[in-house]
Subunit: 350 residues, 4 copies
C-alpha cells in the first residue's frame, strides 16, 4: 500500500485520477488539494464519486501536505507544478507530474513554447518522460515522471514501432488529431460553450500547439536526428477521446499485413495497446473510460506512385491513457506493481 496525494484535484484530470484511484487495490489516498475549491468535499465537485470518496479538498500547503504521502500526483497548471515538484523531490518524495513542466528536456524549448523560463532546469535530467511503451525501465526508478500530453500519447503510440527499421521517411510526418472537448479542461470558455462546440468541427493552433515539441523531442530521440512534424489538432463534439490520423511516406514497398505484424511484434505483451488486424480501424468509442490504445494500419498505394503512404490511426481516451490512467500505469511501474493493476476496466460501449 502506497500513500498517495493528488494536488490540483478539481479539474478533469484530477477527477479522473480520483475515479481510477478509487478502484486501485494497493494505494491509500490520503490527501487531495485544490487552490480554488479548498474546503469543498470532493464529491460535490465530482458527483459521480458520491458514496465512494468523501475527502475534503485542502489548500495547497506543502508544509502540511508533504509529509502525508509518499507519492504525489500533480494535476496543477503548467508553470505552477515546477516549484511544487522541486520541493517534494527535496523531501525525497516521488512525483508524477501531469503538467508539461518536466516533459521537455531542453529548458530553452520549454521557454520558447511556454513563454516563461524553466525554474528548475537541474531537475529536468532527473525527470523521465512517462510513456511506458517507450521508457518502461527508466520510469521504474525515476523520482519525477513527466506524464505525457494527451496528443503526444496518441501520436507516439502510432509512430514508435516505425523507427526501428528503415521503412519510412521521417522527414514528412503529418499528424491530424481530433480531440474530444474534455481535453480543453474544466474551465468554461466561449469555444467550449455547449451551443458553440456542439454540431461543430474545427481545427485550431495549426503548427503551433504546445504538444508539438514533445512529439518532436521523442521522435528525434528515436530517430537519432531532428524530426519535425506537421501537427493539426481539431475539436470534435465528444466528451472523451482522441483519434490521431497519421500520414507517413513509406520508403519501400510493403503490405498492410506486414506493417500490422511489425506493430504487433513491437507491442507484444504490452497490457494496453491493441494492434487491430488489417481491415479493422479504431474508434474512440471503443476505448472511452479505459486505458487502452487501439491502432489501425493501412498502406495506401492506390495511386501506384512508386512510394506509398502509410496511414496510421490511433484511438485513446484523452483523460485515461492520455492523462490519469497513464499516470497510474506509471505509478504501478514506479512501485513495482503489476503494470495494469487497477486499470483493467474495459471501455464503456456504447
Amino acid at each position: 500500500m502506497v500513500k498517495v496525494a493528488v494536488l490540483g484535484a478539481s479539474g478533469y484530470t484530477g477527477g479522473e485520477l480520483l475515479r481510477l484511484l478509487s478502484l486501485h487495490p494497493r494505494i491509500k489516498l490520503v490527501a487531495v488539494s485544490s487552490g480554488q475549491s479548498a474546503g469543498q468535499r470532493i464529491d460535490t465537485l465530482f458527483p459521480n464519486l458520491k458514496g465512494r470518496l468523501s475527502l475534503t479538498l485542502e489548500p495547497l500547503d506543502l508544509n502540511h501536505l508533504a509529509d502525508k504521502a509518499d507519492l504525489f500526483f500533480l494535476a496543477l497548471p503548467h508553470t505552477t507544478a515546477m516549484p511544487v515538484a522541486a520541493r517534494l523531490i527535496e523531501k525525497k518524495k516521488r512525483v508524477i507530474d501531469l503538467s508539461a513542466d518536466f516533459r521537455l528536456k531542453d529548458p530553452k524549448t520549454y521557454e520558447r513554447w511556454y513563454k516563461t523560463p524553466h525554474l528548475h532546469p537541474g531537475l529536468l535530467a532527473q525527470a523521465c518522460y512517462g510513456l511506458p511503451e517507450l521508457h518502461r525501465n527508466a520510469i521504474k526508478s525515476a523520482r519525477i515522471v513527466a506524464n505525457p500530453g494527451c496528443y503526444p500519447t496518441g501520436a507516439l503510440l502510432g509512430l514508435l514501432p516505425l523507427f526501428q527499421k528503415p521503412l519510412v521517411d521521417s522527414g514528412r510526418i503529418i499528424i491530424d488529431a481530433k480531440s474530444g472537448i474534455s481535453g480543453a479542461g474544466r474551465s468554461p470558455s466561449q469555444a467550449t460553450h455547449f451551443p458553440e462546440a456542439h454540431e461543430a468541427i474545427s481545427a485550431y493552433s495549426i503548427g503551433r500547439h504546445r504538444h508539438l515539441p514533445e512529439i518532436e523531442q521523442e521522435l528525434s530521440l528515436l530517430a537519432k536526428k531532428k524530426v519535425a512534424v506537421t501537427f493539426t489538432p481539431h475539436l470534435v463534439p465528444i466528451n472523451r477521446g482522441i483519434l490521431s490520423t497519421i500520414y507517413i511516406k513509406l520508403t519501400k514497398k510493403i503490405e498492410t499485413e506486414e506493417v500490422v505484424k511489425l506493430f504487433q511484434d513491437f507491442y507484444e505483451g504490452d497490457p494496453f495497446v491493441r494492434v487491430l488486424p488489417s481491415g479493422e480501424l479504431p474508434n474512440t468509442r471503443n476505448v472511452q473510460g479505459s486505458n487502452d490504445g487501439h491502432i489501425g494500419l493501412v498502406v495506401d498505394d492506390h495511386a501506384n506512385r512508386g512510394s506509398a503512404t502509410l496511414v496510421i490511426v490511433t484511438a485513446i481516451d484523452n483523460l485515461v491513457k492520455g492523462a490519469a490512467g497513464q499516470a497510474i500505469q506509471n505509478m504501478n511501474l514506479m512501485m513495482g506493481y503489476e503494470e495494469s493493476l487497477g486499470l483493467t476496466a474495459p471501455g464503456l460501449f456504447p
Copy 2:
C-alpha cells in the same frame, strides 16, 4: 466462484453484462450465446472488450449449454426467454431473466401488453421481481429473478419511500421519463438513425409503453390497492441514462427537508441509492457507467394552493442499474456475496 453464462449476448444488455462480469472477482464466465452472431468472437461485437474477453459466441443450444453453468443471465428478447427459463429451472439452474417475461404476476396482464399468451404461467409464482431495494430478501432465495425494466427501476426508486406513510395521493402520479437511446436496443431503426435522433427530443408511446404495467403492479402491491400512473417516455440524444421526473400530490403540508430525511432513512445502508440533500438535483451524467441511482426532491408549493406537489427526480444508467448492473446485484444477493461486489466503479464524469 460461480459458473455463469450469458444467453443472448450480442445486444447492449448482453455486452454490458460482459463488461461488468469481466470486473467481478467471484464468477467464472463459461459460455456466451447468440442466435444471429454465433461463431463470432465477443470482442468483435464489443471492441471495448479487446484484450479482456475472447470467448466465442455459441448457438443457443440448451442441450449443450445447460450443464456448463450454474447461473444463467437471459438477455433474450421477451417471449423467447420463457421456454429457456423453464428448461433451465427444470435442470435446477438459477436464472436471472432480463426480459419482461417473468415481471408481471398476472398472465392476463402479460398477454394484454405483450400480445401473446404466457407459456409458463406456473413459473410466475416462483419468479421474484428483482428490484433489490424492494424485494431484497425474496431475491436471495429466488430461482428465477425477473430483472426490472429500465423505466420501472428509475420510477420505483423515486416512489418506494412514499408508500409507507399517508403523505401522498397515489391516485394521480405522473412520471415523465427521458431516456438515452441505448434503451432502444442495438438494432438500427429510422428513429434511432443518428441524424434523426440527434438534435431531437420527442415523446413516444404515451400511456401505452410496456413498462407501464410493471410500475403499476409494484406500486399497487405497496399501496395495497390498484394504483394507476400516467407515464410518458421520451427519447433524448444521449447514449446512456434515464432521468425520471415524477409528480405526485401531497396530502399534507411538509417541507422538502423532511421528505429528504424520509428518503434518506428509507435508503439508509443501501449500497447504490444516493438521496441528494435539499437544493441538489440529479444528472444522468453523474451515474453513467455505474450502478448508482441518484434522487433529488423538491416540494413545489409556490402557488400556496393548499396542497403542494412533490417533484421527485431520479437518475440511473439504463444499461447498468436499469439492466445489467442490477442483474449482477441480484446475482450477488442470490449467491450470498456482498451486494455491491464487482459493482463499485464510479460513473464516468465527464
Copy 3:
C-alpha cells in the same frame, strides 16, 4: 420598408434576429448595438453571417441611435431594457422587447421574481404580451410588445385552446419542459460547458423558474381566475428546441380525435402552428430554425380511472418561435405586413 435597429445584438437572440432580418424583404437594418462588443463587425461575432451582413456594432448610445430607426428590437438583459424602452417610447418609436421587463402586468410580481423594482410601471399598461396566437389584434397597434419567454411560448401554445370550453381542470396543470442549451444564453458557465452539458439530462429551478409567472398570468387571464401551474424545466443536450409535455386532468370523457379537432379549429388559419393528427407526436428536430410550433395530443385513459389525463406535447425552436422569430412575427403584425413575411423557411431536417 421599415428602418429597424437591434440593440443588444451580441447574444444568441440578437444573432438570430440578424439571421432572420437578413431574409426579410421589407425591412432595412440600420443599426446594431452591443455594450461589450461595440466596434466589432457583426460577422466576426456571428460567422454564419459572413458575406451577408457587415454592419459594425455601435455602443448603446440612444442620443445617437434613437433617430436612426423607426422600430427597435431590444435583445438586452432584463432590467436594462426598461429605461431604453421608456426613452424610445418617449421618442414615439415602436419597441419589441425580448427581455422580461414588460411581460408581467403587475409590477409587484415583477419585483418578486426579478428581485428589483420595476422602473416604469406606467408603461406596463401600454405593453402588449406578444403571443400572436393570443393577442393578435392588440399587438397590431401596440407601441411596446413584450415578446414572450421561450418556455411560456411552448407551454401556452399547448394550453390556449382548452380554456374556451369546460373540459379541463385548470387547478392541476403540470408542465414538464425540456430545453436545448442555447436557451441559457451565450455566456459560458460551468453548467453549459460542453463536457458537463453533453451526455447529460437534468432538471433545474423546479417551481421557481422566472418564466413561471408569465405562464400563470396569461392562463389566469384566459381562465378568468387565478391559475397556478407546476413547471419543471430541464436541460437536454441539443442546441435548439423546447419540447413541452403538459399534463392536465380532463373533467369529461373525450376522445383524442375530438381534442385534435378542437385544437385544429382553434389554430385554423394560423400561419405557424401545426396541430398533428392523432397518432403523431412532435419532435424538436422538425422545427429547428423555423418559426413553427408543432402540437401533438393524447388522451391517456388507460387506467379507466373515471377522469383521464390529457397529455399535450409541443415543440418549438426556442430561438425562433421562442424569441427572434416571434419578435419578427410581431413586427409584421405591427407594420401591417403579412404575418409570415420573411419567416417561411422550413426547419432544417435533419
Copy 4:
C-alpha cells in the same frame, strides 16, 4: 418560372432539395417521386415541411413524369440514375444528377470504382461536372450536370486556386476529411445507429472511398497531369458538415497572408465562397444549412525544414453546398438566373 421535378425524393438529399426549392422564387415544383415511399405525402417523410409542401410522392414512371417538368433533379442511387437521365435527355429535358453516374469522364474508371459497367458512356461527354467555381460557363449550357460529391466539393474548393501557379507539389496531397453522419444517407445501419455513432470518431475506407477518383480527375485536369491524392474520410457525430483539412507541400517560400490573397483573388465575386483572413479558421457550425464554403489557410513552417507545408481547411454543409444547394446553384446557372437565387439564407448559428 421553370417547372421542376425531384426524382428520388425520400432521402436526405431529396428532402434538402425540397426544403431549398420551397424558398426559390422562380421554380414551380410539379412532381416528386420515390420508389419505396410512393403514395405518401412529402410532409410525412419530412415533417419540417408541414404547412409548406403537401405534394404526394409518385412512383418513378417516366411515361407519366417526363412531360410534367422541364428540369429534373435526380436524387436516385447511383447506377439507377443512368437510364433515367438517358431517357430524359432523349426527351430534351435538362437534368441535374446528384448521383455519381455522370461525374467520371472515363467509363473504365466508373466501372472500376462502382463495380458495374456504365450504361450510357456516350452521354458522359455531354455531362458537365457541376462545380460552379470551376466550370461555371460550361454548366450554363449543359444538358446534364453531374453534381459533385460532398467530399470532392470540400476538397476541390480548397485546392482550385493553387493550380494556377507553380507554388505547390501536386505529387503529395493529403486530404483528411471529417463528415457529419447525414452524409451516410437516410437508411439506418449499425454504423449510423445513434449509440454507436455518438461519442465516436472513426476513419473509414482509407484510400478507397468512391469520391477519390472524382477529386483526382478534376485535379488532374487542372494540373494537366495525373494527380493522385491520399484521402481519408472520417465520421464525426454531427448531423451536417464536412471539414476538410488538406496538406500540401509548398515548393517556394510564401507567407500565409500571400496565400490568403491568392485565394481571395481567385474567389473574388463568387457568391458563396468566403476566404477567411489569416488567423481565422472555419468551423462547420458556421455554414450549416447554408450554401457557403469557408476556407482558412496556414503556412506551417515551424520546423524551418526548407519547404513548408500549406494547411488548408474548408468547411461546407454536406447536404447544401455538398449536394442540394449546389444542385440549385447549378440550376440557376442553367436557367440564366442569378447564381445565388433562393440560396441566400445564412447558416444556422448556433
